[in-house]
Symmetry: C2
Subunit: 273 residues, 2 copies
Amino acid sequence: MKRSERLVDLTNYLLENPYKLLQLGFFVARYESSKSTISEDLEIVREVFKQRGIGILETFPGAAGGLTYRPATTTEVSRQMAGELRQLMLEENRILPGGYIYLSDILGHPDTLRKIGRIIAHEYEETRVDAVMTIATKGVPIAQAVSEILNVPFAVVRRDPKVTEGAMINVNYMSGSSAKIENMTVSKRAFSVGQRVLIVDDFMKGGGTLNGMKALVEELNCRVAGVSVFVEGPFHGERPIVDYRSVLRVDHIALESHTIDVQLGNIFEEKLF
Amino acid sequence: MKRSERLVDLTNYLLENPYKLLQLGFFVARYESSKSTISEDLEIVREVFKQRGIGILETFPGAAGGLTYRPATTTEVSRQMAGELRQLMLEENRILPGGYIYLSDILGHPDTLRKIGRIIAHEYEETRVDAVMTIATKGVPIAQAVSEILNVPFAVVRRDPKVTEGAMINVNYMSGSSAKIENMTVSKRAFSVGQRVLIVDDFMKGGGTLNGMKALVEELNCRVAGVSVFVEGPFHGERPIVDYRSVLRVDHIALESHTIDVQLGNIFEEKLF
């Protein structure tokens, strides 16, 4: 197999196996080439992945000689993707009666979900994340998109227990916007004690739901690795949660003119410092 | 940029943009290379993608000179992935009280979801699919996984209307297992008239839910492109649906011994002919 052919297959292989410890010997056998040849191939891939903001190829020297590919977006690419998502949010016809925002098209397209996943995952590149948690139904695509980049499992919290979930952990929480006591529950076996859990959701209003999930993580004897939402909505009052990250922020919804004021979220504010 | 570097970036670009009509001129500008050089690059990629069962690179000649990458799994790879999923299904501790099967781990891991997505998408490689439809909550990861391969949007049907979905289309349907009249609803604007819709779900018992979604597709003035489930469960009686495809089939659940009998689904039966 020629170098040009190896590079195509190698690139595909790495992209399909993020965060896995791969042995140099595996590629030596796969391509029937020497270790030094494969090392040169990997050097080319590493450079292009870095330049283009695709990801980081880490190599571990020694007899075993392993490598790991981590998808990694640059802050510049992340900001550009957020700008594209912001444009989508400004499209007409998105404001529904009652001032709700229609998001299902964005949350139902692989292109936009991939962008959201990459932006949120980028925020946790330096953080240990063992699992992702979200709440049904519209958080699911966000959790799946983030999970794909981080290559960790995700679990879905529900308002009501289901017979298909096995033993469940249940918490009550105070909805931030309506000040009502609500209930949420998640399958116990979806998490192991001590795991670091990243909480994600599509939309944050008062933040009560996110706060409930934080309580749930604690009841599971896990730790919160972070809290991220796609859109942070307008809210007057004090939120019960402060340490969240948002991709976009909606400051104002003008019901009469059917327009919204959308800014990049606090993920990008932090990056300015 | 050297050929070796171009090939790494080109491979990544194609994998990230399936089913899109790409112009040769775009790559000429991206790599500051001649059309003939880019054509040679594409020829190398095409050959490796074909040999390794990654996908098909179609090129369109002429002044415009376009190309499209379609992920395409071989039947052999598809069957192998289904075998791996079957092994997961046979793991201990999967049978819940009442004979329900715990699937949330499989439906919550990017690796397994990618396999399910590729197997189902492979079944519709020769079929026009404009959109994917599923029902909340556990169908969502399946729909998203299939959508990613086909690069089409997906929409989520719910049991109850939501204020965040805009105008909705609603149908009543007969649950196959409990013979109760139930209700399902989906956002009207998620589909355009005449679209071909692929219906997917995680688990089929009686098939009533899938049949309800077929009715919903008709009410949307769309056409059913196909119906696929991850797991077809045991069912005694006549199902209201016959033209479905399944990745796996559970023939028997032994509550006493906590074991199940799992076979490859009818997607693979068809392939034998």
